[in-house]
Symmetry: C2
Subunit: 475 residues, 2 copies
Amino acid sequence: MDLEKLFKPKSMVVVGISKSNPLSPGRIIFIKNVFEMQVEVFGIHPKGGEIEGVELFTRLEDLPKVPELMVLAIPAKSTLEYVEQCAEYNIPGCIIISGGFAEIGGEGKKHQEKLRKIAMENDIAVLGPNCIGVYSPPLLDTIFMPTERITRPPKGSVALISQSGGVLVDQFFHKFNQINIGVSTAVSIGNRAVVDETMLLEYFSTKDKETSNIAFYLEAFNPSKSRKFLQLAKESEDDVIVYFGGMTEKGKKATQSHTASLSGNEKILQAALEQYLIIQPLTELELLTDLKLLDILSHKKKPFDPHLVMEGKVAILSLSGGHGVICADLLKNYSLTAVDFTQEEKLEMRDLVNPVARGIATFENPIDLTGSAKDEDLENIIKYLSKIDRIECIIVLILPYTPSITFQIGRRIANTVTMSKKPVICFIPYIPKYGSIIESLELSNIPVFHSIEEAVQGVLMLKKKTKIMNIKRTK
Amino acid sequence: MDLEKLFKPKSMVVVGISKSNPLSPGRIIFIKNVFEMQVEVFGIHPKGGEIEGVELFTRLEDLPKVPELMVLAIPAKSTLEYVEQCAEYNIPGCIIISGGFAEIGGEGKKHQEKLRKIAMENDIAVLGPNCIGVYSPPLLDTIFMPTERITRPPKGSVALISQSGGVLVDQFFHKFNQINIGVSTAVSIGNRAVVDETMLLEYFSTKDKETSNIAFYLEAFNPSKSRKFLQLAKESEDDVIVYFGGMTEKGKKATQSHTASLSGNEKILQAALEQYLIIQPLTELELLTDLKLLDILSHKKKPFDPHLVMEGKVAILSLSGGHGVICADLLKNYSLTAVDFTQEEKLEMRDLVNPVARGIATFENPIDLTGSAKDEDLENIIKYLSKIDRIECIIVLILPYTPSITFQIGRRIANTVTMSKKPVICFIPYIPKYGSIIESLELSNIPVFHSIEEAVQGVLMLKKKTKIMNIKRTK
């Protein structure tokens, strides 16, 4: 089954365009692709005519060419005849937005079985039903939310596959804009009657060169294919991240109704994912931290050697005692460790800072350079720490409100890290006026986070990445 | 000891104004109070003259009046003579910004002991040393960060007391602006040689009418007075929140250096705090959620009856299956429960929604009204759920990208909640264009959070608040 036409069709047809309701899913999809996207789009309406100035066709056979993709946003019971037309006209891809299939049980379940049968017998890549489809910029976007209501992420290298359309739009799209990463293709799989997460993993890891990392929101694996999914993930050159919803009793019950699937036992699942080198964030925050870090590491210009963090041994460099304390507490929570400095190291570091700070700074780990620190103090201490082999990673807590820290601090740290290649993760509080500092670090591919917890999660992600790289290398 | 002059002095004098370094703490404090704040300010410089057009005095005795507050930003060893002058001239308050005291050990420790002795013998309210002082809008601001480098929160009703100046500025000030709450007075206690958290708790809970809630960042209680702190907290009409740093080994070690204090055993501490009705958030996120919710509940117009959440029994109302699933999982993590609906309730709810949603929505808990929901569906279901007594709180997951949801949804929910008085907590993803929906809810004092986790933490906070209210009532 060729999935490519779902994401890169030359032309597509939309069925289910309401003339009376401008907010009907089919109409939103039709109009947004006509005016905003690059794919060639045709619209079908039983009565023909036009909508918002665009011509509609009454039947498939009237189209000037056979489209490569059909998008259906019509009541469930009417979908089957159109899928049969896909077979008849050799249309290789079909996205079914409509709900009312297995997720409502009874008749819906039977409908879905018939749908699957037609698709399998005729080799049609059917996505859905009960999904919001595909966002494949700049070509097509079948997400039935009006564009002005959501934020769409820029083109990038993360492939997103979600069992929930809402999660795709909200937890991924909105947040990707905030953390400045982009997607290659985003896919909502809905009830996955035909195309499922395993097929998509295979497609994106082997056939899509735009993708570097593949992220899933799942509530359960398609049970008959979970083994294949795990094997594909292990063999993939791309990193594979799976964020699971529905792990609790109530959550599980909920997933059964809305996507007609059964989720598995949490602990067995976690162990399996780890064994097959799948990254499994436990919270939404961690999911985004992991994706941000993997995105940075997939850039051509690597900011630092990404496989140095074997055990998670960290030096914390701060300008505020409290920040250092909170960071040290968090390291513990994530099973990472703060290294101990020798007496000699402490004295050498003290000699490196300006005389005012020298009198009041502390050189335990966390290091607190205090509010009297200057740019060059931070730079010198990062250089010094970078040479200590037992330190695998440095967390730098940058507080741009420190009076003698200038807005060049970002660029100066970036230069230092680029020379030393020691993994460095920065925390800078997010307020818009610190933007130039943040940007100077991000342009050099140094990870910057806006909470101390994310910076610590970033180290954990580096540790996981080192482990995965080492296992994949020895194979 | 009268603390009022630390926060509400009629006049103050700043010592330590550098003529050569415009970024020296003393100079920043002097200039910002002259130009930005309302207190009458005098500056001392041994050579007199002027700075940025403002006259300086050479000695305290030259001032036109005796100030009520002295701010010292000079090297540690020079501070004592000025504190002695406070005694001589009957200046009741003194803020010592300077570091180099107990936190560096040795000589510094001795200095601090002398300082304390003078202050106690002469009844001078000394704040610090090694602190950033006080922000008491609109009167004074001794925080030595240039104002354009930070964001200062608006006037409000939360008193903030922090053992770390960095945490005060970053974890509190920056975030308060983001979550739209304000402070009555903010205090950095530094080494707390004289004025400590216990004295401040007493002051803010009994003498400051602007304050409704009192929040602390502490790394340890002042050991000799922890019992009094707990007792004061229990008796306080205000809610008391303590967020602790330095709970791990490394964190503990760090607190010893930067604030010269020893922290206690985590579990004993937690049990004591709970017994004395102190709210103890475990993460930064929870801290802010708690403060936001308490701030809302301290408004005159209560959005709902705040003491209904006895056990944390929740109904989840969503427009996306995935969001409901994630929320149900999180309830479990926070030991809250999703109530079960009866078959009859499910059928009755189904009858309340529009025909398209009716066919595909699910009425388990979480309820998923799907992307076909309309404003009135949400409104009707909230009304219905509000009448079910065993539901203590409703979490509404509002996704404003749902095509038929309008930007009036906030106002409509606000009206419904104001009528029913059932506790409701809303989640709305934060993107600026949803601002008017968010604002319409916040103006009606309905809590709105921008992650599902915060919404769930909000319910937990309501549960804690109910418990505290019930205990305080029965006394």
